[in-house]
Amino acid sequence: MSQLTEIRWHARAGQGAVTAAKLVADTALLQGNYIQAMPEYGPERTGAPLKAYTRVCSEPIEVHNNIQNPDIVIVLDDTLLESTDVCEGMHDDGTLIFNTTKTVEEIRKAAQVPDSMKVAVVDASGIAMDTIKKDMPNTPIVGALAKVTGLFPPELVKERLKITFGKKFSQEMIDANLASVDRAYQEVQE
């Protein structure tokens, strides 16, 4: 039986959601999985709401449309809750991970998440400000994803980051990103 995991990302343009969707895919690829990652392109304006998708499967992936019934939803900006139903189409036993300073209970209420679904929160923006010195919650949130879902170990995320960032960033920047993954892995609350 093939194991398919479908992830939907909710973010605002400029938060690096597409990069994160690809980072998750590329990390899963290191484990020998088949992957897909795609953005849902709308108007390219910083701050505009956007969705992105990641598929991970032990078998080749035939479908190529948007993900309608995600197993995991990741929300990079909790102000999106005012305009977006982040639970739309989710499986009853799905998992939601929020970048927020709110508590699990607060966000569950705000996003109207049914009790059957798992909710996790992490201040990915705060961690990014501490480590990367920029509000880029996309890298740390992947550390939280690793912890909450066990999709892959955090070490593998860091290995993949070194491959991706090794070509274009300074060692200082790479180390900051790696540290952000570790902190989110440790600090995420369920």
């Binding site: 895919a25 690829l29 795609m38 953005p39 449309n65 309608q68």
Partner: protein
Amino acid sequence: MAEEKKMFSATGNQMVADAMRQVDPDVMAAYPITPQTTIVEGYDKFVADGRVTTEYVNVESEHSALSACIGASAAGARVATATSSQGLAFMWEELHIAAGMRCPIVMANANRALSAPINIHGDHSDIMGARDTGWIIMFAETAQEAYDNTIVSFKVAEDPDVLLPVLTTLDGFVTTHAMDCCVMEEDQTVKDYVGEYHAKYPLLDTANPVGHGMFATLGDGYMKYKYTQREAIEGALDVIEKHGKEWAEITGRPFDLVDAWGTEDADYIIVVLGSCAGNARFQARQLRAQGKKVGVVRPRVFRPFPAQQIVDACKNAKAIGVIDRSDSFGSAHAPLALEVRSALFSAGVQIPVNDYIAGLGGADITLAQMEQVFTELEQCAAGEAKKSITYLGIDE
């Protein structure tokens, strides 16, 4: 198996740019347009980095891009380019000239909607505008196939029995921009496969002067010329299969003019082009698990149209659903449906056909839509009448 070749992640556009890099054509003249941009951007970087020897010509429009390509091809060069949507539309008069002058240009097209209203997303409205221009047209389902088709395109275009331009197409965003699992052959493997190109009648061969695209007006010269074009593209089907199979032998990845899934015993068949075929197959697998005999047929080549292969794949079905990603306004049928119906009629095969339009302007083509089509095909075979064309996914 993936053990010999390393699987990596890439978008369709990256794969097309790399296929062209491996072929290393003499000339590329191109103009950027979403969602093709990353092909020419990527290729321009290969030029800047000295990884190819191609002369890259910056032009001010798609009209000029294809004009420059035609000039270079007539001069004797191996030529490639890429475009999309309004860009392909803007090339319209040159499309006919490239085919008429028998220029074996390879052009990638990122299939996209046409204005108005403005839409940058995927469908087949642009490429279907090129269906009667004399170009060979191939559709990729995946990023991997976009790579393979692009390489095979050079071999087909330049075959002395063909000498026609080829459009190697991939669906906008779903294939051009989505990251998918891919493998790539060695540069040398590709170079050996396509071989060196020696133009048959290059304009720059001053010892043997020739004219290209000459005046052919009154009398039967023009008609005779057009007849040779028809012969050339009809004959191209066998050549595409031959070179495709040769590439399949090298790569281990199948190449069929028509990809037929489950058709041996299928009662209900969806015929579809490009990236959404996987969705149709995925849904067909679910229905097969419930005991329903369903199949999916996907032409990989649209021009020349593989009519016999379509008939062979569909002839035992009880009902066929054709899903088009463009409309032909004022015609009773959209482009793919017209071809399928014509193929069945000419072969004397009488099977009811339902026409569907889906995914215009990047509208998501869902599994639920595929299920709807299969359900309606069952009803159709049971004698239930249906209106001529159904637009899937909207309240009509």
